[in-house]
Symmetry: C2
Subunit: 368 residues, 2 copies
């Protein structure tokens, strides 16, 4: 981010942008799909996923397992799509079986929209199974992977993920302001007849501009420069290693929570991007969030909406590593102790250490 800014219509930018798009595609791990950048938050790219492939009145199946699932519902409603909403209780995921039933009952459904990881509850969907069912039904598989990319395996070509949305500030570890969207050949086909209104998020236009090494709209060039660096770093580490890291951290966090007598909010389909933990009985989770911030300057998230006060959430994406987690769990132990809970110092940390010690990481070295 410290490099000098460059103007987005200059030769410098035109040289850099195709490299960024190529690296982004490599990191996404797809040959068949195009990967485009939108100058927006992740929600902008979710809107692009909604407005570029359907026509008014088209039926879509929407899996809704939390606040971000509700965003799909809002988008479908705003664009006049006929949404069949499969709701899961907060903390649960929508099972592939329910998607299969919905698609059998609605053979005219043209798309299935869901979150890879529902960040508001810490629950993950079975992306591979839902994608398979969706493909067999001939519908478009649309995945919000804003927190899923880099924290869970996502085989775009192998599993048939037609649209995969990512955001700059999550696994890509740069400030918010850019979002990413992969588009499969099947999605481009549907794009030809899709009549929903779109301009800023017109992906066909974006693809044409990208082919010329440009973007449709003025991008935050300093973010593009930062993205270029972030992509280099991710390629060096390897996307699979990034995913493995998040999975290990998530598992270690779950084991530490259980060791401390805490209850997981999404025990059956836990996400690797974030772990949601229930506050102990009679305690507001906001107190725990405040404890982290005020005592240690550490940032964890409270629950959103009705989950506020009930749960707290620890993220595992991007730069988070075991050193962070050792400290976070030690801090959590101290906070619970301060609140009068019977905590044996170091017990949760030991659970994390055990996961580390048993992992391949314990035998490896980090890049210099």
């Amino acid at each position: 981010m410290m490099a000098s800014d460059i103007h987005h219509r200059t030769q410098d930018f035109i040289k850099l942008y195709p490299v960024v798009l190529r690296d982004l595609k490599e990191v996404y791990g797809t040959q068949a799909s195009d990967v485009l950048i939108t100058v927006s938050s992740g929600t902008g790219a979710l809107e692009a996923a909604t407005s570029n492939f359907f026509s008014k009145g088209d039926k879509v199946v929407v899996c809704c397992a939390g606040k971000f699932g509700e965003r799909w519902v809002e988008l479908a409603s705003a664009y006049g799509l006929n949404a069949v909403v499969l709701k899961a209780e907060y903390g649960d995921a929508v099972s592939p079986g329910r998607v299969e039933t919905a698609l059998k009952e609605n053979p005219d459904a043209r798309g299935v929209m869901f979150q890879a990881s529902e960040t508001s509850t810490g629950a993950a969907h079975d992306v591979k199974a839902i994608a398979e069912i969706t493909r067999e039904a001939g519908a478009l598989c649309i995945v919000d992977a804003i927190t899923g990319l880099g924290t869970m395996p996502l085989d775009i070509d192998g599993w048939g993920l037609d649209i995969v949305v990512g955001g700059s500030q999550k696994a890509f570890m740069i400030p918010p302001g850019l979002a990413f969207i992969s588009v499969s050949p099947k999605a481009w086909e549907m794009n030809q007849t899709a009549n929903l209104p779109r301009l800023y998020f017109d992906l066909k236009r974006e693809k044409k501009m990208a082919a010329k090494g440009e973007s449709s709209w003025t991008p935050n060039t300093s973010l593009i420069l930062a993205l270029a660096e972030a992509l280099k770093y991710i390629k060096e580490i390897g996307m699979d290693k990034l995913v493995e890291n998040a999975q290990l951290l998530a598992r270690a966090t779950r084991l530490a929570a259980l060791e401390l007598g805490l209850e997981l909010f999404a025990p059956n389909s836990p996400s690797a991007s974030v772990t949601a933990i229930r506050a102990p009985k009679g305690m507001d989770s906001g107190e725990i969030v405040k404890g982290f911030r005020n005592q240690f300057g550490s940032v964890i998230a409270n629950g959103q909406g009705t989950m506020k006060g009930q749960i707290f959430r620890i993220a595992h994406l991007g730069y988070f590593d075991f050193a962070d987690l050792f400290a976070m769990v030690a801090e959590l132990e101290l906070i619970l102790h301060t609140k009068g809970l019977p905590v044996k110092f170091g017990r949760g940390v030991a659970a994390v250490q055990n996961v580390y010690a048993e992992s391949a990481l314990a035998k490896e070295t980090v890049p210099a």
Copy 2:
């Protein structure tokens, strides 16, 4: 450091520099002394402390408890001073009693030079006691506090510390390139007759320039800007809090080391700027340093000179906090475990957590 650079002879700089000098003096905690900046590493300011107050052949007492003590010996020798060297074994400090005896045996000694904290061994000198003895003998009390400032109490006016040297990259938490030196009225008096050669490090000249809001030589203006910010931050936290933080971290580190069955290198006069720990029998401390770096990207120091391979050193100055230490100790436990030592995960971390829980920090909040 990200602010635009400003030229050092411009009005902007002339406005900023006196503020920096005033804040530096406030953070040093002295009314009576001047505090000046040298554009050099800390060693440059140690040289200034040697060359500005003595004449050729003057006798000085030098306490030498490690690599940095040896630097005082070299400087005294280079400038033709007659040094009475009081050597301590590595890991020990020179006792005030030995200084007292030396000054009685050498009533013509004009100065006493020592390290507040000998970073190479993790041993600290009893600054207050040595200063008192030195003052009574009428000699100049010269303290290398490059790692001592911000990690131990140093009452410049109350204890009679005539010269106190600090460096930018330690407690001041900015990159290396600037050093600091306080000069008492008694030192200025001796400066009038001191005939050792000096120009770049001429403190009288520096004082004159500082009075005009300038520095004698071209300073790295971006470092001055960074220093301005660092001083604001330290003033906000409070120097006493910074010292208290380092003292707590050092104590917690010592207790954790003992809990893990390790031996401290300087058990009798431990420094709060760095804790030196002996490697377990038959193990090269370099392996531990490598383990931190390669497994976790954490930086600790090996021993220097003959202590290389024997000890490893964990720093406590500046930005280091309990979150860092929770992680460092968890990492140390894992490294020792990997090396086949019988380690109970979380046991050292618990020692750190106990120090935290019993401290005032556990009841306080960090500034937003």
